[in-house]
């Protein structure tokens, strides 16, 4: 079971809301799909500049493995206030700890209505259908 203190997107991003800010990352499933279980296969992560305003679902960056490039989508609208620069040169963090140390961006939410997002159970159900 994935952490239920946060919400999910079908495209495998998670968002953890803390008051009027939130941190965003990608799930262990996304990391596994991109890297085929080989952490060295993740080669690049492009994160947005601080201050950029993102809309609901807007692409804010991309993550690249040796086989594919995937977009990173922002679950809820807001302004980027911090990025996790630690992962840019240490993508293995994403394999080791995608839900905590592997967070990607922190945003100041302009939309706190997360009722359209998936909870952990709904996300798990989608993964179960895919496998």
């Amino acid at each position: 079971m994935r952490p239920d203190d946060r919400k999910y997107l079908e495209s495998h991003e998670w968002i953890k809301i803390q008051g009027d800010t939130a941190i965003i990352g990608i799930t262990d499933f996304a990391v596994e799909e991109l890297s085929s279980g080989n952490e060295g296969d993740l080669v690049y992560c492009d994160l947005p500049e601080i201050g950029r305003t993102l809309g609901d679902g807007e692409t804010f960056g991309e993550i690249e493995s040796v086989k594919a490039v995937a977009d990173l989508n922002c679950p809820l609208a807001g302004e980027v206030i911090e990025i996790n620069t630690a992962i840019e040169d240490h993508l293995e963090i994403l394999s080791e700890d995608p839900f905590e140390r592997g967070w990607m961006v922190k945003i100041k939410l302009s939309n706190t209505d997360d009722s359209n997002l998936l909870d952990a159970a709904a996300y798990e159900a989608i993964l179960a259908k895919q496998s």
């Binding site: 690249e64 493995s65 086989k67 490039v69 977009d71």
Partner: protein, 452 residues
């Protein structure tokens, strides 16, 4: 496919198969009175030997580039060493589709890895791709790359001195992208005036050096202006000129492009060209086109493979970096062979010769009554615009009658510059005798004019 004639027996068999007895029966729908029954007025066949002689005779009526050509305007006739044809025509390289599979194509991949190194060095940039279609598409892709590098900016400032084909390609590509083209005009010195045009809406600034009028632009100032406004600077350079001129990299540009025809490819019906494309290492993920990288195989031996393919359209679909997924690989290979054969010293030597010949001609032509250089205060490399005492079209006819190929009637592309502008180009291929004949032809035109 070989041509094998049908024998009478073959014909009889085919006619029997479709149920007719003679070929004429197949044309029965055509009324008898409309059919031509006489022998066609075509001469008897010639032997190969006779045919060659006849064609040589016909060809001799042409004024060819060997007689002396002063036409440039984007394509330039430089000497091509025999090694270029000889290596390029090796059957390992000549295929219908350029093979990039690392397990089968180490030769091609090695050649393009070397190619990228030489292109990057020539343009003074950190990294180059394995070429684009031509200079026009390279410049256009550079602008699109720039638009992807900066956010919330949607105008591109393009010098009017950029080649008209480049500007037209740009217009076509950008038509539905939401990126607006702002044209920077040329001033009285033939240089681009970017004043007040580059601002916080500008994603890219495109300048060509030398520009289409032959004038050397103040490219450092252009790069600085772009940078000061947060825009991406793009320079399209004539590769051979870099033997003597400052490279885009030295001048501080973010992206450098150009057309590689001058490096080892003859001028044939306007090309073919190939595009040079180079940028900074940090921007490699936004760079369009194929990129060959160095790696090791399973046994630890040095080898080469395409890299960053995850960004190409066969994997990234609509979100691909670029939708150009091929290039002019075989022609670009000629460029690689040329650059390797000439070396930096060779390119410098060619550039010096071309420039010296243009200087010699410019000095002499400027002294002819009625003729003057259009931009006497501006520097040029191997091409310059001359103001003639008569329309350039007529001057070109006179040059043609002298058995030479004239320059470009500039009104064709720049009507605002009037009908008397003739753009003349010089390379190491123009002999002193040819240039002197050009000068003497022009002097007769000058003499025919009443002196004021």
């Amino acid at each position: 496919m070989p041509f094998i004639q049908n024998s009478d027996d073959d014909r009889a068999e085919m006619l029997a198969a479709i149920g007719v007895t003679t070929v004429d029966e197949l044309f029965e729908q055509i009324p008898e009175e409309l059919r031509y029954r006489s022998r066609l007025p075509i001469d008897d066949g010639l032997s190969e030997d006779e045919l060659r002689a006849e064609l040589a005779e016909l060809a001799s009526w042409n004024t060819t580039m060997d007689s002396g050509s002063f036409l440039g305007a984007g394509l330039y006739r430089h000497f091509i060493p025999t090694v270029v044809d000889s290596l390029q025509q090796r059957h390992e390289f000549v295929t219908a589709y350029t093979p990039y599979q690392p397990e089968a194509s180490q030769g091609t991949l090695t050649a393009f890895f070397e190619f990228q190194t030489m292109v990057a060095e020539l343009l003074g940039m950190e990294i180059a791709n394995a070429s684009m279609y031509d200079g026009c598409s390279a410049a256009t892709e550079a602008v699109i790359m720039a638009a992807n590098m900066v956010r919330n900016r949607n105008t591109v400032v393009v010098s009017r001195g950029a080649h008209p084909y480049t500007r037209r390609t740009l217009e076509t590509y950008l038509k539905w992208t939401g990126i607006e083209i702002v044209e920077a005009p040329l001033d009285e010195k033939g240089r681009t005036n970017f004043d007040g045009l580059v601002d916080d809406k500008t994603c890219a600034v495109l300048v060509q050096n030398p520009n289409t009028l032959g004038v050397i632009e103040d490219i450092e100032a252009v790069a600085t202006e772009a940078k000061a406004n947060g825009a991406v600077s793009v320079c399209s350079a004539y590769p051979m000129s870099l033997g003597v001129l400052k490279s885009p990299g030295e001048a501080g540009f973010d992206i450098a492009v150009g057309d590689g025809q001058c490096l080892g490819t003859p001028i044939a019906y306007g090309g073919p060209g190939w595009g040079l494309f180079a940028c900074a290492q940090k921007d490699v993920r936004r760079m369009p086109g194929r990129i060959v990288g160095e790696t090791v195989d399973g046994e630890g031996r040095r080898g080469f493979a395409l890299t960053f393919q995850t960004r190409e359209q066969h994997i990234r679909r609509a979100k691909a970096t670029s939708n150009i997924c091929t290039n002019n690989a075989l022609i670009a290979l000629r460029g690689a062979i040329y650059m390797a054969a000439a070396g930096a010293d060779g390119i410098k030597e060619v550039a010096m010769h071309s420039m010296a010949k243009a200087q010699y001609a410019a000095k002499a032509i400027a002294e002819l009554p009625g003729f003057e250089l259009a931009y006497p205060e501006s520097g040029f490399f191997n091409e310059f615009l001359v103001r003639c005492p008569r329309p350039a079209k007529e001057v070109n006819k006179a040059i043609d009658r002298a058995g030479l190929l004239g320059g470009l009637d500039i009104a064709r592309w720049y009507p605002e510059l009037g009908e008397d502008g003739l753009l003349l180009a010089f390379t190491e291929m123009n002999t002193r005798a040819q240039i002197d004949r050009l000068i003497s032809t022009l002097s007769h035109i000058a003499a025919a004019q009443p002196v004021a």
